[in-house]
């Protein structure tokens, strides 16, 4: 009896310590050349800086980005280039990439 509880207790301890409860998601970053291909001109050009996001040169509040991208997508925009300036964090970049993906627009990253 004691050996059984010992084993179960050890198993419990192992699973308690080694399992994770955070949930993960993934964003494909696209194949090589999607960002660097200089051939065709993108339909949308967005820049991300410390003070916010600009889409085609127009400042866009975080709350209206999704709406504006949907409008641009309906108007026929298919591809976009995103340029991250100094001061932008990865979190800001990924938030914007996610919104582009939700609107169905191909995104390339500019250097």
């Amino acid at each position: 009896m004691t050996s059984l509880i010992d084993v179960i207790f050890l198993l419990l301890l192992f699973f308690m310590l080694s399992s994770t409860f955070s949930r993960f998601a993934e964003i494909p970053l696209g194949a090589a050349g999607a960002g660097g291909s200089g051939g065709n001109v993108p339909d949308i050009f967005a820049t991300i800086a410390e003070d916010g996001v600009r889409i085609n040169g127009e400042a866009a509040e975080p709350t209206v980005i999704a709406e504006r991208l949907r409008a641009l997508s309906e108007a026929g925009a298919k591809s976009a280039t995103v340029l991250a300036r100094e001061g932008a964090t990865s979190q800001m970049l990924v938030d914007v990439l996610e919104k582009f993906r939700a609107a169905g627009i191909d995104v390339g990253l500019a250097r």
């Binding site: 998601a25 494909p28 660097g36 500019a110």
Partner: protein
Amino acid sequence: MSRLTTRPMPKRQGDSTIALINIVFLMLIFFLIAGTLAPPVDKELDPVTTEDSLPSRPPDALALDAEGAFTWRGQPISVEEIAGAKAELGLEGPLRLIVDKSLPAPLLIERISALRAAGLPDLVLVTERRTEPAR
């Protein structure tokens, strides 16, 4: 007479052990089902969060910390070694990358092109999913 009075004692002890085993067993089942086992990523890393991307399995991923340094399963690694380490572990498919949220974005883009230059063109960014959208 005295034997009669001491008899219930060992029986009660057995009962409490079974109750304890039951509780511990239920906890074990809970952790087995609710938790997911995954190799550890960098403990210091605070990954980028997203709200509505595709759910994915826990990362066995290359970590990129806030200073732009790569770690693989807790060990620092250089860009040249990554392709070899991935092949050695027999990981198929795209390279999974988990990034600290405070890493400057230009540095992230630079690291991504460094990885592509090192022969790893297929990259997937793993993020932590916020369960409740903050709206």
